[in-house]
Symmetry: C2
Subunit: 244 residues, 2 copies
DNA sequence: ACAAAAGTGTTTGGAGTACACCCATGA
DNA sequence: TCATGGGTGTACTCCAAACACTTTTGT
């Protein structure tokens, strides 16, 4: 009988969960606490953990997101593998690994997974363990993060930009059921990190028949009320089929 | 002292080496031999192997390409991680793993790396072990390949298409020092897997100042001689800087 | 009245695409 | 003389980008 190799236990998965709150893009971070020379240090990391044996990569991502952030039923997609020793940024990461995992991992291989959604129903912190919270992406990138997690966040956003171009279904999940043109434009501005022209954006919206205008308008705003829109999944599918 | 985790020994790396021979795109495959019920079976796989402990992912890819195909100094880029149990395609893969590696790997995680170049100086089989050879991509995809290697090949080509759009430097490496418009067009047709209009392609070439026409023309061809062109790396860098 | 955001069209330039004929060369 | 590939220009369409004023509503 062949001898089984050690399990795939030194592969980790990290999740970049991007949540939109109708104003800006946020990323989910977990607080990390450890001791350096007896002094408590606190910083942040992406939720994630080690893969177990006999587990698909995709399954591991789903499981870890549930364990670490209390979230279920989120579609995640893999965007990149990271496997350079230079991922370890100084003593902080080394000490944390020793204290948290009880091990020294020489070469920390991680697979980056991303998920995006609107903060609210599915994407909330109700079941999240202590220490998990949202941070605006801009802020998060300036904070001291574990390992190369800042790079993971940037890569995940790049991937998001790319996948929106090939299939904008993702924005469905980032918008509430009804939304204004401003909200939708704000989302695109967050994702592309640049301002978009109001009129050109509206023109674009009109082209897409699956973005349907409603009669309903905003209530109680201190300016002219904006029209609401909704996504029509049936029309979207028809539209997509028409592309082949 | 913390206990070291088992080494990262169940992670494999597979290399999709794409070589252009001025006519078509080829992929490097390794012959795989094993026994099924005492009968010898031969099929093909992408060169690759297991990562060792204390090794960067990128290093592993470079090392494996050297060990398995005798090639050095090739730039490789990672394109995707594959980690589903369904990668294993029936008994063939299971038997091969047992006989070749002496182990049963429950969940074969592999990281796909790609490299592209022109077949010739750097990219040749002079130092390649027996069983390594080039196959036209079209043929390779129809052959029985190990695991999900056909998918890896397709993904690598997709990645190639994408990276050429963002940075066409790759085509520099696929062309000889001097080349005709036909050769360059043929390359693009291979990569995009469709025919391109001659005149429109020429028009495009003229736009790119870093593709410089030479006075020299082909010799001894049975038709009007084609002009040669070359890539100018300095102009290319200038051109790229102008894009920001 | 004023502050704040909504709503609305036109123009321009560049890029992609489709398309057909004559030219030079060696066999 | 013929077969082979080289070389060349125009017209149309589509898309992206730039750009300014009037309307509605609550305070």
């Amino acid at each position: 009988m062949p001898i089984a190799l050690p399990p795939t236990c030194c592969i980790s998965v990290n999740c970049v969960v991007l949540g939109f709150d109708s104003k800006k893009l946020n990323v989910l971070l977990e607080q990390r606490e450890y001791l350096i020379d007896g002094k408590k240090v606190v910083d942040h990391m992406l939720p994630g953990g080690l893969m177990t044996d006999n587990e698909d990569l995709d399954e591991a991502a789903t499981r870890l997101l549930h364990e670490k952030a209390g979230m279920r039923n989120l579609k995640m997609f893999q965007f990149k593998a990271y496997g350079s020793r230079s991922r370890i940024k100084g003593r902080n990461d080394i000490e944390w690994m020793k204290q948290q995992l009880g091990v020294e991992i020489v070469n920390p291989l991680t697979i980056g997974y991303a998920s995006v959604g609107k903060i609210g129903r599915k994407l909330n912190l109700h079941n999240a363990p202590k220490g998990i919270s949202w941070f605006p992406v801009e802020e998060a990138l300036k904070m001291p993060l574990a390992f190369d997690h800042a790079i993971l966040i940037q890569d995940a956003i790049k991937m998001l930009q790319y996948s929106i171009e090939t299939d904008p279904i993702i924005v469905f999940n980032l918008m509430p059921l009804k939304f204004t043109a401003l909200q939708l434009r704000t989302l695109y501005e967050c994702i592309y990190r640049k301002e978009l022209d109001v009129r050109n954006f509206k023109k674009k919206m009109k082209q897409y028949e699956y973005v349907v205008p409603l009669e309903e308008v905003e209530q109680g705003v201190a300016h002219r009320a904006a029209r609401y829109y909704r996504f029509d999944r049936v029309k979207y599918k028809k539209y997509r089929r028409g592309m082949d």
